[in-house]
Symmetry: C2
Subunit: 331 residues, 2 copies
């Protein structure tokens, strides 16, 4: 079906080796024959078989990317940047969506492991031991999670969280509710810890509601619980929950940014479509993706490098309209 090396070779009256060399290692062959081969190859539309090449080289020039939910707006920017960076480096990207199904994460990763050189995993809930074991079988980089013995790119929520709390305090808030994400999510724990630390440092009372799934619907439910508490400031596990909260509260006739303050995390593009716009902790999604690719390719380049690194990316608060002075301070 497809044009093979042998066909090009026949058309040029040379051996397949020569064609192979002419196309991959141009210095090794006579300039004149090389030109002829290149011309014929182009003309015949030759393109090397990945399978053949992969069989002898042992590499696939492909990386796998596993995400929990493509539809969660936090991930598309990451996928996009992983894809872009990988393409720059001549790697293809195989994508897999676990649909937030924990049990599938490992199985999927294992399945992928035979057809990729390395894996980028954004799987917040699988048990650490399993991940460590996986990382021993092939190069893996984790996104938004630290794992023993594997490279990872994580978010340092402390900076952003501290700014968020200070922002609320400066407005006059003394109590904050955390709208928790999934219990076993690594990043949920990070965020909660960072918030607890920031609250302690600022002498703020911290409450918690949840857990909630990272979805708008869940945020709407969270709004109901939030409204029946007396706390006027909430920081949500992510933008989706925050947006759901805002949507429901606004629908109920409450003025977000005046009667109640809401802060999200991720600073996804959606933050700007609501009114008021959502104050959110900015997470550098694009950098997250490209850093993950870079880390992975480093590992591929020198297989048993010393210690896989952890890259830590900073966060910062982006203040918009969803936060304001608490009502009790307004009289």
């Amino acid at each position: 079906m497809a044009v093979t090396l042998a066909e090009v070779a026949a058309a040029c009256n040379v051996s397949t080796s020569t064609v192979s060399r002419a196309l991959t290692d141009p210095e090794k062959v006579n300039a004149e024959t090389r030109a002829r081969i290149e011309r014929v190859a182009r003309q015949l539309g030759y393109a090397p078989s990945r399978a053949g090449r992969s069989l002898v080289s042992g590499r696939t020039d492909t990386v796998g990317l596993v995400v929990p939910d493509i539809a969660n707006p936090f991930f598309p920017p990451i996928i996009k940047s992983v894809q872009a960076r990988a393409r720059d480096k001549r790697y293809a990207v195989l994508i897999a969506d676990t649909d937030e199904h924990v049990a599938d994460e490992l199985e999927l990763a294992r399945g992928l492991s035979r057809q990729v050189d390395g894996l980028i995993l954004a799987s917040p809930r699988t048990a650490p031991a399993d991940l460590t074991r996986l990382a021993q079988q092939l190069p893996v980089v984790f996104v938004n999670r630290e794992v023993e013995g594997a490279g990872s790119v994580v978010i340092d929520e402390n900076e952003g969280m501290q700014e968020a709390v200070e922002h609320l305090v400066s407005l006059g808030h003394r109590r904050i509710t955390y709208l928790s994400g999934p219990r076993r999510s690594w990043s949920n724990q990070q965020r909660r810890d960072a918030l607890a630390k920031a609250c302690a440092a600022n002498d703020v009372e911290l409450r918690e509601l949840g857990p909630f799934e990272p979805q708008i619907q869940a945020g709407m439910r969270a709004a109901d619980l939030l409204q029946s508490s007396e706390v006027a400031a909430a920081i949500a596990y992510d933008d989706l929950i925050a947006l759901g909260v805002m949507s429901r509260l606004t629908e109920r006739g409450m003025q977000v940014g005046r009667e109640i303050s809401v802060i999200g995390i991720d600073d996804s593009p959606l933050s700007t479509v609501t009114h008021p716009m959502l104050t959110s902790i900015h997470v550098p999604a694009a950098e997250l993706g490209s850093a993950a690719v870079d880390l992975l390719l480093d590992q591929l380049r020198d297989p048993d490098s010393p210690t896989p690194l952890t890259v830590k990316l900073e966060t910062r608060l982006v203040i918009r309209g969803s936060t304001g002075i608490p009502p009790e301070n307004l009289r």
Copy 2:
């Protein structure tokens, strides 16, 4: 590195053929040895090499998916459903993002073509002739676009558009502005035509602004133009533009759904996070993805099937708060 057939064979004192058969064609081998082989294979962690298999079978069990912009919220649900359906059928998905860069579309598709069995293309702007030619080289299914000689899954915007216009008319609108998408986008042409037809049928005056890129920012610019016209109803090329419009108008102090009516297309999850929520023409994104996979796999199963089909999916209007009675009818 990885466990091979030969190693399993050695451990079992049988030939590689037998192991191969035991694992892929269980009936052909003695029950007892099969059991032994399966046990050893599992124990050694054997998994077949995709490259080896692919070399002899000529198939890759992988499909390629090319989209113009992963970050555009219209696509993640499609990607998700493509991925899910493909996985059901034991296919992997290779993803590529053209970043709305027309020139890359073809090049990317060609590059992918050597490592996939078939391609799903959501590339609105490449020239039809190029696409037809591509479709001759390998099975291709187009999403949201019809191409000569290739399968495709498209949206029938007529139904939804008609409902949208009728809805606006029933509220009292006699003039509608279309906020156009990219000029050369196939689906933009479809939508505009459908709208023109519906307007003609309902004796409604149709104006047009644009073109606008399918992005929130562009929608915000569109809002400015819209505001300075005297038309109180707008239908946008997609939800992103519509949301941008709403956001900017609300920010300007206008009451969307009262002073001005806005309708989007796609009915993405974001439609529900704004206040008022966005009235939008629902596009069945998940069905789009899975239908595309089904169509493609049909083509793979029997290579030169008669005529590649076009699957047409219906749209319908989802009425929310962003549409209302025009101000001039309120006095």
